[in-house]
């Protein structure tokens, strides 16, 4: 049995310790907002926060997540920055197919949490690991700037 702290809640999980956090979230805990894209840390669809830092949950074994503070797309709205990012995503109509957007929102929220006024170059550097196959990158940049502005108020 492994104890996890996800979105402020403590949960017990029965799964093999090498099970990637991604599949623990999806299959054991029924939290399907975090997506499976590549299984190799190459696309960012599975991005969650571990102690506030964006990580690829497909590369984090359950054993390594024990005790850490984990935030997923299901819990990010409770964060002021996360809520602003999601609102900007909706306002600017960022998503197309939408499959990568949980990961994009998580990466964008982590960026704004440490850099409230990112430049395009900052955004590119922070989100280069998050593939959007539909190509919503221009709107992702616009939405991050929009969220940054809304957080100034």
């Amino acid at each position: 049995m492994t104890t996890l702290t996800i979105n402020g809640k403590t949960l017990e999980v029965h799964a093999a310790p090498d099970t990637p956090l991604l599949w623990v979230l999806r299959d054991h805990l029924g939290m399907s907002g975090t997506k499976f894209g590549c299984g190799a840390g190459l696309c960012g669809a599975c991005t969650v926060h571990l102690e506030g830092t964006p990580v690829r949950s497909c590369r984090i074994p359950l054993a390594a997540a024990q005790g850490a503070r984990i935030t997923t797309i299901e819990g990010i709205a409770a964060d002021r920055v996360g809520a602003a990012v999601q609102a900007a995503w909706d306002r600017i109509d960022v998503p197309q197919c939408g499959y990568c957007q949980s990961g994009q929102v998580m990466a964008a929220t982590a960026l704004l949490a440490r850099n409230p006024k990112p430049t395009d170059a900052d955004i590119d550097a922070a989100l280069v690991g998050n593939i959007c196959r539909c190509g919503t990158y221009a709107r992702i940049r616009a939405a991050i700037h929009g969220a940054a502005k809304s957080l100034e108020a």
Binding site: H28, F36, A45, Q86, D93, C97, N130, A138
Partner: protein
């Protein structure tokens, strides 16, 4: 929005067999938690109005990012006079009424959704409005002409007012009106004016339910080891070691592979590595990329079928003042949808139920019935949000696999999930192609002769063989049959040449293949004639004013013909596709040894713009797909095996590579053209033409990186 999020959990159209067509009363089972005696009433196959005045669009096309949920809802809401932002969306089941008239099957593809629905869904909305108005008029014993239906209510000058929901039951009993009048474009309040997607919020919150996200009590998982050579089969399997692992429930040989079924996905995936399989690789085991190119080149010696003919191209080429000839080649590509192929299947005494992301629910039903053994009438498809289609989900292979696996463990819902590596290695690949071109210029530098041959694999012969007649596959002639240029002597041919690897429809299909060859070659012709590339093209567009207009606008917007910064150049390409005219100007610059793609300026004229902001989004999206085709991505084959596996060796465009993309939307027609694929085909020729203008290097083969042309 709850309807979108949890649509699959509703048994919302159990009575779908009753939806035979026209106006019917739908049989609707409400979501759990709502009193079962609540009986919402449908106006027709697309529109449902419940007593609490909730208007629902039964969306008959599948949402994969292209915005059908909102754009189709706009068509209905415009005529029904309701707030589109309050319309709920449910995904339609398989039914003949939902067949795409432009494709002859219940398919989402071919940039047809809006074109097919343009009249149908506005009529559906208008019909419902007329019925609701009549029901109100009857209830109040007043003439219908004195009643006004607006914003979800019918009202009468005398002050009476009833919601659509209150009237829906009575309206459904009335005979269908004939020839309902539709609004004139000047009367539109939503079409062309909306600026919001109904599914943005759920997607931003991770609440949209894709095929991969569907969950059921007692669900188990499958991971499938497929023959490494596409088309090969299992000869023998020893599954004892895998089966002995904790959590493993079954090992199932389904012919093209062996599935491990387990209590969790990770258990199934790791246990799969313990399978010992002997393969019958079949005839494909010696195939490689060099051989594929050689086979296509050989195909060019065949006559093939005539696509388009004018005058006498052979004679005109002989007598031309100057001739130019060239050969072009396009590579194999994977679709690489971000959501890997997956399918949840349940085979039980009720038949077969399938929850999946698909562009082809009708095909899904057929293959699921065939491979589960359930009758088609008891095979139900529950389409979900699609995490990327691009044509990959027109194929239903993974759905058949899930049905076959589920049939071996009846009563258990089984979710088959491919790995990314499975997805890359077992795709239906965008065909490679080979093109020969020749052009003849007269003494004034005007094009007088054009000879063209395109050689490639026929996807349609595999999927819809009846459509290919006399060796003419209409999906191979896209961009050739509708060539915008008027050349007095032209011979355009197409040759179906199979090369031993399965091929599939890839966003914009042959438009991208033909446009790269033709639009690059027209640049070569202009250069040979000593003419400006846009002036040379404009001269050949005499009968197409809309095409001229987009080209001239692209020239103006991109600064064509004006001084450019040093180390910068422009390239142009244009075409008509899916009844939409477009032109693209690409700007590239030098960045050390590499090049930088600075800007793409698209001008598109789809005739009528239903949801303009999403047209911009789709063109940008098409551009990104086009850049995957252009820059460095490719699939290669060795010993019958696909050499790429994941996003490290099959790269997709990342945010750092995203150029500035400007999209100008013109509306020069009276009905909408297609949009979803329009942005794709011109990036390769426009960028390659800009590369030539900048460096003098003419690249005739994709991806550009193979010719040493690397972009930052």
């Amino acid at each position: 929005m709850n309807a979108i999020v949890k649509a699959s959990r509703r048994d919302f159209l159990k009575g779908s067999a009753a939806l035979g067509g026209g106006l019917i009363v739908g049989f609707y089972l409400p979501p759990s938690g709502i009193a079962a005696d609540l009986k919402p009433v449908a106006a027709n196959a697309w529109v449902r109005i419940s007593p609490d005045n909730q208007v629902t669009l039964v969306c008959h096309r599948n949402e994969m990012g292209q915005d059908v949920y909102t754009s189709l809802a706009l068509l209905v809401a415009e005529e029904l006079n309701v707030d589109v932002n309050k319309v709920a969306i449910e995904q339609a089941p398989v039914d003949p009424v939902y067949i795409n008239s432009l494709l002859g099957a219940q398919i989402t593809g071919g940039s047809t959704s809006i074109r097919d629905a343009w009249v149908k869904l506005r009529e559906a909305g208008a019909t419902a409005r007329v019925l609701l108005t009549s029901a109100a008029a009857q209830r109040w014993s007043v003439p219908p002409a004195e009643c006004v239906a607006a914003n979800g209510y019918v009202s009468h000058a005398g002050g009476r007012r009833a919601s659509y929901g209150e009237l829906a039951g009575a309206a459904a009993q009335l005979p269908a009106p004939q020839n309902v009048a539709l609004k004139k474009p000047a009367e539109f309040t939503l079409i062309g004016k909306q600026r919001h997607r109904l599914d943005s919020a759920v997607k931003a919150r991770g609440q949209a339910q894709y095929g991969l996200d569907v969950s059921m009590p007692g669900m188990v998982y499958a991971s499938l080891e497929q023959c490494p050579v596409p088309g090969g089969k299992v000869a023998a399997v020893d599954g004892a070691r895998a089966k002995a692992l904790p959590g493993v429930l079954a090992v199932v040989d389904i012919g093209e592979g062996v599935a491990v079924v387990a209590d969790h996905y990770w258990t199934a995936k790791t246990a799969r590595e313990a399978l010992v399989i002997t393969w019958d690789y079949g005839p494909g085991s010696t195939l490689d990329t060099v051989q594929i190119r050689a086979t296509l080149r050989e195909g060019a010696h065949r006559d093939g079928a005539i696509v388009r003919q004018a005058g006498d191209a052979a004679a005109a080429l002989k007598s031309a003042a100057r001739t130019v000839s060239a050969e072009y080649h396009s590579q194999l590509l994977a679709h690489a949808t971000l959501e890997p192929m997956n399918c949840l299947a349940l085979v039980s005494e009720r038949g077969c139920d399938i929850w999946t992301s698909t562009q082809f629910p009708q095909g899904a039903q057929g293959v699921a019935a065939a491979r589960s053994g359930a009758p088609a009438a008891q095979t139900r498809i529950w389409p979900q949000f699609i995490g990327g289609g691009f044509g990959r989900r027109l194929d239903v292979d993974f759905i058949g696999q899930a049905a076959a696996i589920a049939a071996a463990v009846p009563g258990k819902p089984v979710k088959l999930i491919w790995t990314r590596e499975d997805d890359t290695r077992h795709d239906f690949y965008r065909p490679a192609s080979f093109h020969t071109l020749a052009g003849g210029l007269d003494a004034q530098g005007k094009l007088v002769a054009f000879d063209y041959k395109m050689v490639s694999s026929s996807i349609t012969n595999r999927m819809f063989p009846g459509v290919v007649k006399n060796d003419l596959d209409p999906f191979m002639t896209e961009g050739s049959a509708n060539l915008a240029y008027e050349v007095p002597n032209a011979m355009q041919r197409v040759v179906i040449q199979e090369y031993g690897l399965r091929s599939g429809y890839w966003r914009s299909v042959s438009h991208a293949l033909n446009a790269f060859a033709i639009e690059s070659f027209f640049d070569e012709l202009a250069h040979a004639a000593g003419r400006d590339a846009i002036a040379f093209r404009l001269e050949l567009l005499g009968k197409l004013p809309r095409q001229q207009a987009v080209l001239e606008r692209a020239a103006a917007e991109s600064g064509w013909g004006k001084p450019l910064p040093a180390g910068t150049a422009l390239g142009v390409a244009m075409m008509e596709s899916y009844e939409t005219h477009q032109a693209l100007v690409a700007r590239v610059s030098k960045s050390g040894k590499r090049l930088r793609l600075e800007r793409l300026v698209y001008v598109v004229d789809p005739g009528v713009a239903v949801h303009p902001d999403q047209i911009v989004a789709q063109i940008q999206s098409g551009a990104v797909t086009g850049l995957i085709n252009t820059l460095r991505s490719k699939i290669t084959v060795r010993d019958g095996r696909i050499e790429q596996s994941n996003f490290d060796d099959f790269p997709l465009l990342r945010i750092t590579q995203m150029p500035r993309i400007d999209v100008i939307v013109m509306q020069g027609g009276d009905k909408p053209g297609g949009i979803g694929e329009v942005g794709v085909p011109l990036t390769a020729p426009a960028v390659a033409n800009a590369v030539f203008a900048l460096t003098g290097k003419r690249v005739r083969s994709l991806p550009l990186a193979d010719a040493g042309v690397e972009f930052v």
